[in-house]
Symmetry: C2
Subunit: 498 residues, 2 copies
C-alpha cells in the first residue's frame, strides 16, 4: 500500500470505531430519555457488547501496526492529528490489562450502587470501602497507561488532554485566593429570593419559551432535538445530530431555562465541529474544559447578562403575561444573579461555583498523592466548606456524598468545570475586542455575531489544537485568572454595591 | 470443551449478535421517530457498520465450526431450536457472496429512490429497470442460498420460515374463489361514509384515548412506549422494550386508533415472548404470518367487534362528548366495518384486503417463474383489480406503484399478510372454544382472558414450533380457509343483509 491507501484504510477503520461510538451514544441517550423501565438489563448487555467490540477493533494488532506505521511517516495537518489522537487512544487501550478493565468496570457498577444507598442512608462508611477500591484500581490504571510528572496527570489527561497539574494547580490556587474574599464580601450582603418569582410556572410554557430561546441562540433544529431527562446533558453523534436534554420544575421559572441555555452552548459547539472530518478525531471537541467554556459562556456571560434580559424579558412576558406583568429587567437580572452560600454544587451560582470545584480538586490531588485517606474525606470536606463558604453541611449526603463522579470512578473530571469558566471568560474578553459591543447586540437579540466568532475561532477548528494552544492563539496570552476575576468582580461588585 | 461449555460459548456469541441487532433495531426506530433531519447520513453509516459487523461475527469460521459441531451433537428442546435456527441463518449468510450482498444493498437504495420518484411522476417506466435489476439479483440470491421445490420458496422462507408455496398457493387460490363472490355481493350494497364522523377530531384527545385503549388491551407500559412515525410499525428489542408507533389525522376518528390496536397486537406478542431465552432464537417470533395474526386478531376480531364498542364507545364519548353525543354502538360498529372497493391496500377493509394481497402474490409468483415480465406488471395489475374488485386504477401511482415492498427488493413478503388473517381466524375460533364467550367478555372490557390464552398458546412458545406446527397443535387441524371465510361471511352477511 502507498501512503494514501494506508491513510484511507486507517480512516475506514477509525470511522468504523466512530460508528460503534454512534450506536453506543444513541443507546445511552435513549436510556436517559426514552427507554421504558424494564429495558435496562437488555440495554446494559448491548452497551457492554458495543464497548467490547470497540476495544477489540481498537487494539486489533493489524490496526495497531497500521497506526504505528502512519505515526512514523511524515504527516501534516489533519492527517497528523487524526493519527496522533488515534494512536494515543490505542496505546492507552493496549496498555490496560483486560483483567484490570473488567475489574474496574465491575467495581464502578457496584460502587455506584453503594453510593446511591450510602447517600440515601447518609452513611459515608458504606461507600468508603468502595471508594478505596476504586481509587486503588484507578492508581493501577494510571501506572499501566503511564504519565509524566504527577500521577494526577494520568487522570486529568482523560478529560483535559495534554493538561498538566503542575501548570493548572498553581493557577487554580491563585483563583481561590482572589475568589474567597469576593465571596465573603458578597455573602455579607446576601439576600433571599425575590417573592415575585415564587409561584407556579406552567411547564408547557416553560418548554415553549425555552425552545424559542434555544432557536434564538442559533441552535439548528434540523440537526438536533430537545428532550427530558433526570440529569440534563448534551449528547448526540456528531455535528448533524445533537441532542439536548433538560428537566422542568413548576416552582422554578429559570432553573430549566438556564439548563437549556447551558446545554445549548455545548450543542452549538458540537454543531460547529468540522463536518468534513466527521467520524475522525479532528471532528471531536478539544477537551471537557473547552466544551464547558462554551456552555458556561452561553449560560452566564450571555444568559445572565442584563442585555440578554432586555431582549428576552418582554418575550417571556408573552408566555406568562399575568405573573410577569410587573417584573422589570433589573429585577430579573438581580434574581438570576443571586449569590448564596449553598451546599450543593449543581445549584450554585457562578461566583461560589468555583469554590465547590476547587475543594474537590484539592481533595482529589491529596487522595491520589496519598496525603490523605478516603476515611479523611468527610472531615476535610466540611472544614473547607466552612473556610471557603462559611457553611457547614448538616450531613454527608449534602456534603461529600453529593456528587456522582467519584462513585463512577471519575477522578480528574471536576477541575474541567473551573477550567471551562476560565477559558470562557478569557475568550469572551477577546470576542468583545474582536466583535464589538456584544451587550448592545444581545439587547437587540443578536447573538449571531458572537456565534460566528466562536464558530471561526473555536468550533470549526475541531481538535486541530490543544486547549492551551487554542487559548494562546485566540487571545494572544496563556490562560490566566484575570479575565474571570475581572468579570466576576465587575458584575457582582455592581450587583452587591461592593 | 465439553458439551455444556460449548453450548455456553455458543450462547455468548449468539447474544453478542443479538446485542448488535439491539443496537441496529434502536437506531432504526430512532431514525423513524426521533432523528433530526440532518442525521440521516451518519445514521446510514452506523447502520451499515453494524450490519457488516453482524455478518462478520455470524460467518466467523470459528463460530461456524462451533455451530456445526453442536448441530451434529444430540440436542433437544430449546438447545436444539437455538442451534438449528442459528445454523439456518449462518448457512444462508455464508452462502451469499459478499459481492452480491453489496450489489443488492446498493441496488435496493437506488431502486427505492427511483420508486419514490416514479410514484410522484406516476411513471412506471422510471422504476421498471430497477425492479428488473432487483428481481435478477434476488434470483441470484435464491440460487446462492438454495431452496426446495419452487424458487419462490427461497423468498418466502425469509419471512415465513419453513412455508412452501406448494402448500400455500392452493390454499390462497381457494380463498380467492370464495372471497370474490362475497366481495361482489357486498359491493352491490356498498354505502358511503356516515356523515356523523365527518368533522375534526382533536389529535391530543385521539392520542389520550388511544393510549387508554392500548393499556386496556394489556400492553405493559413499563416495557414499551408509543411514538409517532410516518409509517406505523412495532419495533423494539425483545420482550422488555417494545416500541409502537402511529400517526394521527385530524379528519379521521378511528384510523389512528385501529393502527394503534393493530400495532398493540404485534406488541403484545413481543412482550409475551419467553424472557428466559432473551437474545436467543427461541425468544423470537415464529414468522411474519404469525406476527400478523396477532395484530389482525386484535385489530379486527377484537377492535372491530360490536362487543368492543359496547365497552369503548362510552369511554370514547368522554373524550369527544359533543361530537359523539348522538352516536350509538350500532352506528359505530357499521362505520368501522364499512366495505369499499378501493385502490389502496393499506386503506382497505378486512374483506377486500385479502384480494389486494392475492393479486400481489399471484404477480410475484409469475414474475419469479419468468411467466410474466416486469414490463407486464401494470397491465396485469389493472386487469385483476377490475376482475377482483370491479375498479380500475386511474394511474400507476394508485396501482402497481403504490407499495414500498418491491422497491426494497422484498418479494415473498405480501402473502404473510393474508396468512396472518387465516391464522388469526383459526386461532380465534379455538380461543372462543377454550375461553368461552369472548364477545360477552369484550363487552365488559375484558380482553385479559383472550390475552392469557394467546400468552399460553402462542406468545410464550417463542420459536419452539413452526407456524404449521403451532396451528395444528393449538387448533387440532391444519391451516384452512374456513375459519376466516365463516367469520367474514357471518359478520358481513349480517352487516350487509346478504
Amino acid at each position: 500500500m502507498n501512503a494514501t491507501e494506508t491513510y484511507d484504510d486507517f480512516c475506514l477503520r477509525v470511522r468504523e470505531l466512530s460508528d460503534l461510538g454512534h450506536a453506543a451514544g444513541m443507546l445511552g441517550w435513549d436510556q436517559e430519555t426514552q427507554m421504558p423501565k424494564r429495558g435496562a438489563q437488555g440495554r446494559a448487555s448491548a452497551l457492554g457488547t458495543l464497548a467490547g467490540l470497540h476495544h477489540e477493533k481498537l487494539v486489533d494488532p493489524q490496526f495497531a501496526d497500521l497506526v504505528e506505521s502512519l505515526a512514523d511517516s511524515p504527516l501534516a495537518g489533519d492527517l497528523e492529528i487524526n493519527v496522533r489522537e488515534t494512536r494515543r487512544a490505542q496505546l492507552r487501550a493496549m496498555r490496560l490489562p483486560k483483567q484490570l478493565v473488567v475489574e474496574l468496570s465491575r467495581t464502578q457498577s457496584l460502587a455506584h450502587e453503594a453510593w446511591v444507598e450510602a447517600r440515601i442512608a447518609d452513611d459515608f462508611a458504606q461507600f468508603r470501602p468502595w471508594l478505596e477500591k476504586l481509587l486503588s484500581l484507578q492508581l493501577r490504571v494510571a501506572d499501566a497507561v503511564g504519565y509524566e510528572g504527577s500521577v494526577y496527570n494520568a487522570f486529568l489527561d482523560e478529560f483535559e488532554p495534554y493538561a498538566r497539574v503542575e501548570q493548572m494547580g498553581p493557577l487554580l490556587e491563585q483563583l481561590r485566593k482572589r475568589l474567597v474574599p469576593l465571596v465573603t464580601a458578597i455573602l455579607d450582603r446576601q439576600r433571599g429570593p425575590d417573592p415575585s418569582f415564587q409561584c407556579d410556572w406552567d411547564i408547557a410554557k416553560q418548554e415553549a419559551f425555552g425552545r424559542q430561546v434555544i432557536g434564538d441562540l442559533g441552535f439548528d433544529w434540523d440537526a438536533g432535538r430537545l428532550d427530558v431527562s433526570v440529569h440534563p446533558f448534551c449528547g448526540g453523534v456528531g455535528p448533524d445530530d445533537v441532542r439536548l436534554t433538560t428537566r422542568y420544575q413548576a416552582d422554578q421559572l429559570t432553573s430549566s431555562l438556564f439548563g437549556m441555555i447551558h446545554e445549548t452552548g455545548h450543542g452549538l459547539y458540537e454543531q460547529g465541529l468540522p463536518p468534513e472530518q466527521a467520524g475522525l478525531p479532528v471532528c471531536e471537541s478539544i477537551s471537557l474544559g473547552i466544551h464547558e467554556s462554551q456552555s458556561r459562556m452561553l449560560e452566564n456571560m450571555v444568559g445572565r447578562s442584563r442585555a440578554f434580559w432586555q431582549y428576552q424579558l418582554p418575550r417571556m412576558q408573552e408566555f406568562f403575561p399575568d405573573q410577569l406583568r410587573n417584573v422589570d429587567v433589573e429585577q430579573m437580572y438581580r434574581e438570576v444573579n443571586r449569590v448564596e452560600a449553598s451546599m450543593i454544587r449543581v445549584e450554585a451560582d457562578e461566583v461560589t461555583y468555583n469554590l465547590h470545584i476547587l475543594l474537590r480538586f484539592e481533595l482529589e490531588q491529596a487522595l491520589v498523592a496519598g496525603e490523605i485517606a478516603v476515611a479523611d474525606l468527610p472531615g476535610i470536606w466540611n472544614e473547607r466548606m466552612e473556610s471557603y463558604l462559611g457553611i457547614h453541611p448538616a450531613n454527608d449526603a449534602e456534603g461529600v456524598l453529593q456528587d456522582i463522579h467519584w462513585s463512577s470512578g471519575l477522578i480528574g473530571y471536576f477541575p474541567t468545570y473551573t477550567l471551562g469558566n476560565l477559558y470562557a471568560a478569557q475568550l469572551f474578553v477577546q470576542a468583545r475586542h474582536d466583535v464589538g459591543d456584544l451587550e448592545a447586540q444581545f439587547a437587540r437579540g443578536e447573538t449571531a455575531p458572537l456565534l460566528s466568532w466562536l464558530r471561526e475561532k473555536v468550533h470549526s477548528r475541531g481538535r486541530r489544537v490543544t486547549a492551551t494552544q487554542l487559548v494562546e492563539e485566540v487571545t494572544g496570552r496563556p490562560l490566566g485568572i484575570d479575565a474571570l476575576m475581572n468579570y466576576l468582580e465587575g458584575k457582582f461588585g455592581e450587583l452587591y454595591d461592593l
